[in-house]
């Protein structure tokens, strides 16, 4: 079909006429098209899209006139109306003393020494890593009152945190007052943001890492060790006391029991002997003379039995003639 058309015989003159007429038409079409495109493009400056966490502030002749929520919207084209988009939901994070650097899947933290190190009230140095979270609470204030909102929060946070730390002693910042520092910092930053009418809401201030500076860490560890050592000494002493006192108590019981036993023995012996005496006395009284003689003779007999050598002498000096050593020798 196309072949026939190509070889269709046409008068050359005629063709020229047709051609010039066609050209004129084509030019007009192009111009109309350009105008339509231009007008269309111009009108498109009035179309805008607002993301789910954002709002758009519409300005009429530069002055703020209304706020619109997420979705596709239309306003008058330039120069009559324009808009600014502000993210009001996302919580922004500011890092003090460190930076998060994420490359692909791995996240790493870089310590920023000059930002982390602060002077405490007792003129020591402490290293603090903190996070400040904030979000835009008033998009109009945020967009029209302040410039570089992020920097503003960052600088204010840094200065407030230092201010707080400078009011406290090192020991307190490290231990008891830590939470209070975070709370007070958040409160104070908020106060300043309100003063600036920055439209910023501080959500949270977290003190991530509160430590002594690296060069003095061993000294701090030593204090902790010393605390352990102290406790160990005390525990050892306690162990000693726990060991020695019950033993002594046991010994005391033994001493008392021995004494009681002794006393009992004494009394028993005495009672027994007294009873024996009484019984014997009773018998003795029945026949006093005989018993007396018997007792004496009995004892003399025993005495004689017991003695090793018996000597009968006329005078008491017989002993002078006996070699005692020889006589008593093999005993």
């Amino acid at each position: 079909m196309a072949e026939y058309e190509v070889f269709d015989p046409v008068d050359p003159n005629d063709e020229f006429k047709e051609y010039s007429n066609d050209r004129k038409h084509r030019w007009r079409n192009i111009i109309i098209l350009v105008i339509i495109i231009a007008v269309g493009a111009y009108l498109l400056t009035g179309v805008y899209q607002v993301g789910p966490s954002e709002v758009a502030l519409v300005k009429t002749f530069g002055a703020y006139s209304s706020t619109t929520g997420p979705g596709i919207h239309l306003h008058l084209p330039y120069p009559f109306q324009s808009h600014v988009i502000v993210d009001v939901r996302t919580i922004n994070k500011i890092e003090i003393g460190f930076r998060t650097t994420s490359s692909g899947r791995t996240t790493s933290y870089v310590f920023v020494e000059e930002e982390a190190e602060m002077i405490t009230g007792d003129q020591n140095i402490i290293s603090i890593e903190a996070i400040v979270q904030y979000r835009v609470s008033d998009p109009v204030d945020y967009a029209f009152n302040v410039i570089q909102g992020d920097d503003l929060v960052k600088l204010t946070s840094e200065s407030v945190l230092r201010e707080m730390v400078a009011l406290l002693e090192l020991e307190k910042v490290l231990t008891t007052e830590r939470d209070k520092v975070a709370m007070e910092t958040a409160r104070r930053i908020q106060e300043i943001m309100n003063d600036y009418e920055a439209g910023i809401q501080i959500e949270n201030v977290y003190l991530q890492d509160v430590t002594p500076p690296d060069p003095v860490v061993p000294a701090f560890d030593d204090v902790n060790n010393a605390r352990q050592d102290q406790q160990t000494s005390i525990n050892e002493a306690q162990r000693y006391a726990n060991d020695v006192i019950p033993r002594a108590e046991g010994e005391a019981v033994k001493i008392l029991n021995d004494a009681q036993a002794y006393a009992y023995e004494q009394i028993s012996k005495a009672t027994g002997e007294a009873e024996r005496f009484r019984i014997m006395l009773e018998e003795y009284r029945k026949s006093e003379e005989i018993t007396k003689n018997r007792l004496i003779l009995d004892s003399i007999q025993k005495m004689l039995e017991n003695s090793k050598i018996k000597v009968i002498s006329e005078k008491g000096d017989t002993l002078n003639f006996i070699n005692i050593a020889e006589v008593m020798g093999d005993d």
Partner: protein
Amino acid sequence: MIEMTKMTIWAVTIIIVFLGLFFGLTSFYIVEQTQQAVVLRFGEIKNVRTEPGVYVKAPFIDNVVKFEKRFMIYDIPVERVITFDRRTVLADTYAIWRIEDPKRFIETLGTMEVAMTRIDDIVYSHVRDVIGTYSFSEVLSIQRLKILEEIKKRSVNSLKDFGISIIDVRLKRTDLPQENTQAVYERMKSERYAMAAQLRAEGEKEAQKMKAEADKKVSIIKADAQKEAEIIRGTGEASATNIYSEAYSQDIDFYELQKTTQIYKDSFKNSILVIPNDSPLLKYFYNIK
């Protein structure tokens, strides 16, 4: 002819539209919400616009200079400042400022760059002067707020004439120079080691005390027991003595007899017994004739 007229109408329309656009663009200007503007006619200030909106100006003749209306941050570079007690601190300050009076601003400073150098000079000199009248420990104390307030007040006064309003001046950092930092570290270390030594010594002390107390308790317990024991023994002996004397007192002669004969029995073991020949024991011995 008709063709020509048509062409002319087209051309005229286009020219009118372009001229209209051109004049529109040159004789109106928009001041944004975040801006303020000064209208200059051959360098002379004709008008100041601080409210946003659309305004008319004479095309070509009038020149509109726009300025920022929002709060701006000026971060002043770190400077060495000497305190009243001759200690050097690195003061890192920043100022929050805005152009309060665009007319004044353009008259005295002209551009933002000039303004920044001026702010730098003025705020820094106040920082130096004010901190110079306080001691280092005061800079670190609650006084800091007072110092900042004073710097702010002075800066506000000095910059008022330039149409600049200082909203805030704050100290971001007050650090010690490197050489002082080392000294602080050394001091912190020695303080900690001293503390550690004290803790250990206190532990020793406590331990000694506890041991001594335990020893004392042991001695007391034993002594008490000993005392009690002696009393018990004494009581026992006393009772025994009482029992003996009660029994023996019934007949002292018999007691003597019994005891004496008992002594005889018990006390001559393995001894040499010399019996004189006139002993009553031998009275029958010599009777045999």
